[in-house]
């Protein structure tokens, strides 16, 4: 087998091209911050980012100048509020935003997964989103003549995700809350995955029900402990709630968000360097607790 193990630097350089459509894995959980840091560091640009609900990792990619377009059903800081960075980028014309709904984005990725041109659904027939969303057309059901909306397939060029573990061949094991992650990966042409641990294939064989991605599409496996920080990873570490809570105020003015990019991304050669710059016992404090 080809050894797919490489660094985030190598993977982002080799497999993410400017103008690509990129699916961002993780949903409130297992968010691939390490890979996103590297995308910013390598100054990727003109990307079309696609997702159901967009967490603050999108702030990082938009502030970093990576994205020219965003398609999603929601964007902001979950439970906290709006995204200052995205609102500002849209207002200034730097970022084209197509607002949709989480389920429509999910259906479009799912059509991409199934390899069909569209999936019919009753959603987005009415309301003010109906006129502005992408990739929807009205059709008639050939059986009942009732009207539905055809939600067209979305097949991103590449998906980035973080998971618990993988073997070197890309048999990626992920558990906990998955949201839209699996569908988005299956819909994508290729998958870049960072993991906490790289394990032997024999260990994969002990729990093949945890393997969630088709190995033949996984092009890069990156060993990156805490690669989902500041989000959480089931059975590995808790979310840095303070980081999320302060993020919205930390990004209220451009000056502050520039500082954020500088100290968290540009001051470092890699994600480990960033992790090392965090306050001494922070990562220890985030140790997973069962309850």
């Amino acid at each position: 087998m080809i050894d797919k193990v490489m660094t985030a630097q190598q993977a982002v350089k080799k497999y993410i091209h400017n103008s690509d459509t990129v699916f961002i894995g993780g949903f409130g959980h297992a968010i691939p911050f390490a890979i996103a840091h590297e995308m910013v560091r390598q100054k990727k640009h003109s990307l079309h980012l696609a997702k159901t609900g967009a967490d603050i990792i999108f702030d990082l990619l938009v502030a970093g100048g990576c994205a020219s377009r965003l398609s999603c059903g929601w964007y902001g800081n979950p439970g906290i509020g709006i995204s200052n960075i995205i609102s500002k980028a849209v207002a200034s014309g730097e970022l084209a935003l197509t607002e949709s709904t989480n389920f429509s984005m999910m259906l479009r990725l799912h059509a991409g997964k199934l390899g069909v041109p569209f999936i019919p659904s009753p959603i987005l027939a009415d309301g003010d989103l109906a006129g502005s969303v992408d990739g929807i057309k009205t059709i008639k059901c050939p059986f009942t003549e009732a009207q539905y909306q055809a939600h067209s397939a979305l097949n991103p060029d590449v998906a980035i995700i973080h998971a618990q573990r993988s073997d070197m061949n890309g048999n990626v094991q992920l558990w906990g809350s998955v949201g839209d992650t699996i569908e988005g990966c299956e819909a994508s042409q290729k998958i870049i995955c960072s993991v906490e641990e790289i394990c032997e294939s024999e260990e994969i064989l002990l729990c093949p029900h945890l393997t969630k991605l088709p190995a033949h599409k996984v092009v890069a496996v990156i060993k990156q402990p805490f690669g989902a920080y500041p989000s959480y990873l089931h059975d590995y570490y808790q979310r840095d709630e303070k980081y999320y809570a302060e993020h919205t105020s930390d990004t209220k003015v451009s000056l502050k968000s520039d500082e954020w990019l500088q100290t968290s991304v540009f001051d470092h050669n890699d994600f480990d360097s960033y992790l090392n710059s965090l306050p001494g016992t922070l990562l220890d404090q985030l140790a997973w607790s069962k309850s």
């Binding site: 609900g53 439970g79 989480n102 429509s104 959603i123 906990g176």
Partner: protein, 256 residues
Amino acid sequence: MNTNSESSDKNNGLEKPLITDEIISQARAAFMAAREIKDYQTLFVGIGLPCLVAHLSQSFLSPNCHLIFESGLMEVACETQPLSTASANIAKTAKMHGSMLDVFSMLQRGEIDVGLLSAAQIDIHGHLNSSRLTTKSGKTLSLPGSGGAHDITVLANKVIAVMPSDPRRFVNDVDFITSPNSPYGNREGVAGVAMPDAYFSFDTGRPILQKIYSDRNADSINESLNWDSQISDSLEIVNPPEGDLIERAGIFLKNS
């Protein structure tokens, strides 16, 4: 059901919270919504006030309801406030970790009895807005968007909105129709909206003040809001939550 106990012995060592007006206000809105839920129903739960509704339902009124979150978490025990639909605190109590497709499919199949939502605005047609607000000066304020709200509104068998008292949220026409009250097939759509003083139903397609807490006055509530609503001939007077229930709400909101 015990909403009157003054004791906090049952709080399992969690610190007794300071009961603020904000906690009481949220508890009242949530309790009004929770009263609309029947035991064993399947609930699709949004973030914010809907989580408190779910918590109070599960703890006091409908212990066997099935809580489902858009992240794919199912059979959840909503014991502390989650910040997102995938937060670890609810993931750890979920008996099934499914996917987002799984749970939205349930909605679309018609298996979700009640969708619990909040919104920035609700109007007299039952439309919900979570996309953008237009200020008096004509400026547009962007909000995070639909998320699953549009989908839940169209696909749940019935939707109950739960909102703070803020009169700016109750309008004749929302600034933007994120979630149209246009239910799929023979579903009920937005059945009502709970707020800290009262519950309005949309049984006739327009808001009717249907239930009110005993410490509030129907006319003044109805007039305080910025929308054309009526008072039901069969207005129901409801005892407001107190004691244990308020305390549990306080613990829930604090330990998030």
